[in-house]
């Protein structure tokens, strides 16, 4: 892919911290470029070094960035746990970034605090990719979700999307929902009342005129949807273990629960799944969660290439 194009050039050196920093046109450009990158495994990034700074645990996102870098001939350094970084010695995030920027060409960061990636991006002139900051944003997950949706439905605008599960703490959902709203999608939010979407996000969606409704009964799946996006309900969010058990089972999707649909519904999940999706759904035509993981490599290869100016 030696050719350059204007849309790709406009991303050189930029940060990917929040979906809010990308216009709808830019998002579509990235997805278009990702279509081209799907089969690209050339050493475009030979000699480039990615620093994977995971202050919080991660398997998929970290390995996905590492694999994307390796597929394009680049190298990866980094750590997978704050306990083994100098943060455990009391170093500030800004200082860590100022040191690491001398070792690499691009930085990926996951951090428990919201806004950490923004601070990192402000500290260095290198491109910074946010791999999750607290419960705020996970833009590369959003882009791979959009890429997956577009591959299946042929578009990302004017779709009907339902989100199920933990909508309070899921950064994946927070990041995706704002973007789908911008593309005029209808949204249904199904969650236990204790894990409902934060009010500031709901207010923001309302202020932008996004069509969005909340439901608190998971036994009645919304029928008017193209995509069911489920999330993991985390045990630690519930002070009462009995309440967790009740909610966990109520939010499980299986083959039978999808019988209410006359059409094939796309079932998505950022993974890891625990009980939210039964394994009997894995061979369901609409099951897209492992496709999301695969598409993650494509989208991250695309992003690394355009930010480093080799696309």
């Amino acid at each position: 892919m030696g050719s350059t194009s204007d849309p790709a050039q406009s991303f050189v050196g930029r940060d990917v911290v929040s979906m809010r920093n990308f216009s709808n046109e830019e998002i579509v450009h990235i997805l278009d470029l990702a279509d081209r990158f799907e089969s690209v495994n050339e050493p475009l990034l030979r000699g480039k070094i990615l620093a994977n700074l995971f202050f919080e645990p991660s398997t998929r996102t970290r390995l996905s960035f590492q694999a994307a870098m390796a597929r394009l001939g680049g190298a990866t350094i980094g750590f997978a746990d704050a306990a083994i970084s100098s943060v455990s010695k009391g170093e500030s995030l800004a200082d860590t970034i100022r040191v690491v920027e001398n070792y690499c060409d691009i930085i990926v960061i996951r951090h428990r605090y919201e806004g950490a990636a923004r601070l990192a991006a402000n500290t260095t002139s290198l491109p910074v990719l946010n791999a999750g900051d607290g419960s705020n944003q996970h833009p590369t997950q959003t882009l791979l979700d959009l890429f997956t949706i577009r591959k299946i439905h042929g578009r990302i605008h004017e779709l009907r999307v339902a989100f199920l599960g933990d909508l309070r703490y899921s950064r994946t959902v927070h990041s995706l929902i704002e973007t789908l709203g911008r593309f005029a999608c209808d949204l249904v939010l199904v969650s236990p009342p204790s894990l409902r979407m934060p009010s500031d996000i709901l207010d923001d969606l309302a202020a932008k005129g996004v069509r969005c409704r909340e439901e608190f009964d998971p036994s009645i799946l919304p029928l008017d949807v193209d995509v069911l996006y489920t999330t993991r309900i985390q045990k630690e969010r519930f002070p009462d273990p009995l309440e967790y058990e009740r909610v966990k089972n109520a939010y499980q999707l299986d083959r039978q629960s999808l019988n209410v649909y006359s059409q094939t519904v796309t079932v998505m999940h950022p993974l890891p799944r625990v009980n939210e999706i039964s394994t009997d759904l894995d061979d369901y035509e609409g099951a897209a969660y492992f496709k999301q993981a695969k598409n993650g490599i494509t989208v991250r290869k695309t992003l690394l290439s355009i930010l480093l100016g080799v696309a």
Partner: protein, 160 residues
């Protein structure tokens, strides 16, 4: 007999005379009840010569608060704080007893070190950095934290 000088009480006009400022700032038309808050957030409770009028009659507001600050002009950060607390306020810069300029405090589109982010998981509360907010809407005021991206409605804004 020493002539008795009669003092008339002016019961019809409620005014409090405070000596004119030679140099400084008059913050007028403060929303009633915000005068002390303004003094507090500007750090004027413990520093400098200040005169304050509370619950004064006002044609425009019905009642208002007013502050005269000696030998001090306000920074943009301080103007932002006043604009959040009382957008109707009028500021007069006084130089050599004369009004040098008069204006209303206008919120800048972005502000640093003015508002506290109430999200305990925001990086601005966990690293040595100044808070930073973007103005989404002015009426009613809605701010977005530049770091954690949370939106704060006007009723929940907490000044630093």
């Amino acid at each position: 007999m020493v002539p008795h000088k009669q003092v008339k009480a002016h019961r019809t006009r409620r005014s409090i005379e405070v000596s004119a400022l030679k140099q400084g700032t008059v913050v007028d038309h403060l929303r009633r009840g915000t005068g002390l808050k303004v003094l507090n957030v500007l750090g004027l409770l413990t520093e400098g010569a200040v005169a304050i009028g509370l619950n004064l009659d006002s044609k425009r507001l019905g009642q208002k608060d007013l502050i005269k600050i000696e030998n001090r002009e306000l920074t943009q950060e301080e103007l932002n704080k006043i604009a959040i607390l009382s957008p109707e306020a009028t500021l007069s810069i006084i130089r050599d007893f004369k009004v040098f300029s008069k204006f209303q405090p206008e919120l800048t589109d972005e502000m640093e070190g003015v508002v506290h982010c109430q999200n305990p998981s925001c990086i601005s509360n966990n690293e040595r950095i100044r808070s930073r907010f973007q103005v989404l809407e002015r009426e009613p005021l809605r701010l977005r934290c530049y770091y954690c991206e949370r939106v704060i409605p006007s009723g929940e804004i907490e000044l630093l």
